[in-house]
């Protein structure tokens, strides 16, 4: 399971990150090293083991359908890098 520079580039797009050539080399070598280390899990036979996503044995955290106050719009937009007092503003989704 060798991790290539191209793989890392693909993952970077998926993660919405971007590296220059040097950064990509460094990231690749670090990831290779870490992936090699964590691959030690493959030593273990886990065929009959239930995966454990939570460290809790509780279920059913369900809330009643009762409305509570929302944030005033100024509060909701306050931290936005760009807004027009009504909407969040982002660069166009589609490029032309």
């Amino acid at each position: 399971m060798s991790l290539t520079r191209q793989d890392v580039e693909k993952v970077a797009l998926l993660a919405r990150l971007k590296f220059d050539d040097e950064g990509l080399d460094k990231m690749t070598s670090h990831m290779v090293q870490i992936v090699e280390y964590v691959d030690k899990l493959s030593e273990l036979n886990t065929d009959d083991v239930e995966p454990m996503a939570h460290a809790l044995d509780v279920f059913n955290a369900l809330a009643e359908d009762e409305p509570r106050a929302s944030l005033p719009r100024e509060e909701a937009l306050r931290n936005a890098p760009k807004n027009d007092d009504e909407y969040f503003r982002v660069p166009a989704v589609l490029g032309e």
Binding site: R16, A63, E66, A76, E86, F88, V93, E96
Partner: protein
Amino acid sequence: MSELPYEIVIGLEVHVQLKTNTKLFCRCSTAFGSPPNTQTCPVCLGMPGSLPVMNKKAYFLGMKTALALHCGIPKFTKWDRKNYFYPDLPKGYQTSQFDLPMSEEGYLDIKSTKDEFEPRRVRIIRAHLEEDAGKSIHDEAAGKADSRIDLNRTGTPLLEIVSYPDMRSAAEAKAYMQELRLLLTYLDVSDCNMQEGSLRCDANVNLHITTDDGVIATPIVEIKNMNSFRSVERGINYEAKRQYDVWQETGKVLGELPKQTRGWDDSAQVTRSQREKEESADYRYFPCPDLIPVVVTDEQIDEVRHEIGDLPAALRDRLESEYDLTTYTADVIVNQGLGFVEYYLELAAASGDNKLAGNWVQGEVLRILNDLEIGISDFGVSAAALAELLKLIQAGDLDSSKAKDVFTVMLESGKSAAAVVEDLGIEKVDESALEDLCRLLVERNQRIVDDVKNGNEKAVGALIGQAKKENPNVNPGQVRQICLDIINSL
């Protein structure tokens, strides 16, 4: 339809907005139409540190719907994250259900009243809960100006109902959507307002084409944004034709191209490629660590099952078998919704004439509802009041055209049938006087008598016209019968 050189294979993914007061994971209101970004909180804004808490009502409305679709309800269900970047998805993932949905394996039966297709059972793979995204408003000149983002809708509970690819024509897909919508209306789990987006449909479509070398399948395309029954039908038909053309041109079959996503453009009536959706297709699903699983008991499932009242399919059967209505009439009545069915049932019971009641609701009542663009709950004549009118018809006191006049006045005035009959001066004609009149008319019209005797029963119609001139209150049906009896006895 069957002359097409291909068979269309269709599976639908329908997103239903559930009728809750609050969002799936926070307690912001789900009301439609508020000013942009006024229904948000740290949770649905995806603010750092905020955490989701599942809406109990959404879960149980989902279960109710799933049960009505004959789905099984697993005892254990969990929540997963579907990761992708889009500005209407503030957390960078949609909380949905992946490998252990809240329900699976059901079906919905569809049939055509216009004989467009054979009755079909469309199997359901699963129905699962997930949160809605917000709304992006793109500038007309795409790519030039900013997109605007409104997060009011973000986090609204959706039930995604995924069918098997069991449909074979656009008409079937449309019928499936209509039947599903009707079911949801009966269950009262959604507003089902397609214009407001509370019922949305994506379709997976490909073709099976018979060639000299056997049947080939074209690559599957997912069509998005079909937000009316009409666009479901048109979008699928457009896409089928497009796929056929592409296949003729390229010869590419299933497996030779990745699954494509195309959006239905309703104004241009075409599907267009949505490349940006495909690029991020590795969703990296994994269990949401912020939400714990839901475990239900048999008792809870039974409780929800008992809350489900009469559903369209069962009601249609009942109206046909118990009430002796035609398939068509039963269908028309059931398709109007539960309130309309209840109106019919009350009318049938009170009037004692199932068929007559069926004809009246399907005819006069429905015509007026459509004219006034109102629902049965706003209709001015109660089933009990209408039943009184039907009784007068049955007793022969009113012919159907008179009865319609009376009905019109009842609707305008709110008076009872008896009161309107009196107001209009409609008097019952004495039986012996009517017989005398008929005898007189038969005597005067030898030619008609001859015609009838020669087998032309319709000729008697002229006598009815004459009788009405003599006495406007006569019942045409009665006149006809008496005249025929007299002629036959001659």
